[in-house]
């Protein structure tokens, strides 16, 4: 399996990925990258990518326990067969493709449908040897701005309860106190707010 990088792409490139919209594998991948553009060992691959992969998974599943499990799954699946003679950019692209497959499989197992996907076509350019790109498939900043737009489109109380819960990470009890309502009311409010947020037209989100 030392040729795992290529083998894995061939196996998983179209089949398991959602919608079959995986970016085509470029033949240039097979070229050996100059030494300065390569990772020295798996630890370097891990240290350079673990935050990005975790943030990506967190943005896709919305909770820490699952994000951690999926991050572990990506590295356990990817690093074993990984060949390090290719460029850093290609290694990152390979990790993203692995993440895409791992996430698709997670949703199928858990809920039987893909609630979120990793869109590789929206991925930032993976310049070889350049600084690590944003730790999200579409850039964490863009996700945050999109979430902000959703919140800003909501009436005050709905926005406030979702800000307290999601942005400030406060408990429902804490949020109820901050808003001067009962815990039961806060629970109702947060679900109504979420329902309204989910029904907003696409341009708001």
């Amino acid at each position: 399996m030392r040729e795992g990088l290529m083998a894995k792409e061939d196996e998983e490139g179209g089949g398991a990925a959602p919608g079959g919209d995986v970016a085509p594998i470029r033949p240039a991948l097979r070229a050996v990258a100059p030494a300065g553009d390569r990772y020295a060992d798996w630890r370097e691959v891990y240290d350079d990518n673990v935050v990005r992969i975790h943030r990506l998974m967190y943005a896709k599943v919305g909770n820490r326990p699952d994000a951690e499990d999926l991050t572990a799954e990506v590295f356990l699946a990817a690093l074993g067969p990984l060949r390090l003679s290719v460029s850093r950019g290609e290694v990152r692209a390979y990790l993203l493709r692995t993440a895409q497959t791992v996430l698709a499989s997670f949703w199928r197992r858990r809920l039987g449908c893909e609630v979120t996907t990793i869109d590789l076509t929206a991925a930032p350019p993976l310049e070889a040897g350049g600084p690590a790109p944003a730790p999200d498939d579409d850039g964490g900043g863009r996700s945050a701005r999109r979430a902000r737009r959703i919140l800003d489109a909501l009436p005050d109380r709905y926005r406030r309860v979702l800000e307290l819960r999601f942005v400030e990470g406060r408990s429902v009890r804490d949020s109820a106190q901050a808003m001067g309502v009962t815990v039961a009311n806060a629970k109702v409010l947060q679900h109504r707010a979420l329902r309204l947020a989910a029904s907003l037209p696409e341009e708001a989100s």
């Binding site: 951690e68 730790p135 996700s143 999109r146 902000r148 959703i150």
Partner: protein, 234 residues
């Protein structure tokens, strides 16, 4: 019906999603909840313990397979968190809500870092405006309230009769701070760093102490608390 609630509640409570079969409409709710989690750019930063333990686990699997002849203990290289998070902080700071950048901090725009700006720099925007951020009644003595405007995320608090407003972005890497109500301080979710409500650095585990949080001007205007914030960048 019940299962769908659980999947959405898991995201509300930051817990693992349980297996089940949701209704089609529930998927939209769950997707929106997940999307809203991204409103806090610091939320997806991994726990230090997780990063270390996964590295250990990988070392056990990968190094054992490649060097069976060697009985030497596996060397686990500890990478400073700062290096790991170099990308993450940049993203957090790049969010529209955290635009307390150098040009606003020093007014010079010459690349001066916040650390070099001295203790408790004041944000004096070149172009700013007073915006209401909270009803005055919402702020009890000693209490604090988070606010966000299109250009600034911060916290306004009151001690005695004095109003204080500070930036809500950690001066280390720009992660958004969390209000720790019980301890009356602002915690950074990215590193073990905390600030007082007046912006002082309380504790940290970094090589160098992060600068105090920049202050913003705050005032009462009628029944509102207003903060002087930079106008939106064009």
């Amino acid at each position: 019906m019940r299962r769908r609630r659980r999947a959405v509640d898991a995201v509300f409570e930051d817990q693992a999603i349980q297996a089940g079969r949701p209704e089609p409409g529930d998927v939209d709710l769950l997707r929106t909840a997940i999307e809203l989690r991204s409103a806090d750019p610091g939320a997806g930063v991994p726990r230090e313990e997780f990063v270390d333990s996964l590295r250990d686990r990988l070392a056990a699997e990968l190094d054992a397979g490649s060097s069976t002849a060697s009985a030497a203990p596996v060397e686990i290289r500890r990478v400073p968190r700062r290096a790991l998070l170099a990308g993450a902080g940049a993203v957090a700071a790049g969010v529209a809500g955290v635009m307390l950048d150098r040009t606003l901090l020093g007014g010079s725009g010459n690349g001066e870092t916040p650390e070099a700006a001295g203790p408790s720099a004041e944000i004096e925007p070149i172009a700013g405006t007073w915006v209401p951020v909270a009803p005055a009644a919402a702020l009890a003595d000693g209490g604090a309230q988070r606010f966000s405007t299109p250009t600034v995320v911060g916290f306004v608090s009151q001690e005695g009769n004095e109003l204080r407003a500070v930036s809500g972005a950690c001066t280390h890497q720009g992660c958004l701070l969390k209000l720790n109500v019980d301890a009356g301080r602002l915690d950074c979710p990215c590193h073990r760093t905390a600030f007082a409500l007046d912006g002082r650095t309380l504790f940290h585990q970094l090589a160098a102490a992060p600068a105090p949080l920049p202050h913003l001007k705050a005032r009462r205007a009628g029944d509102q608390i207003e903060v002087f914030v930079p106008t939106e960048r064009t």
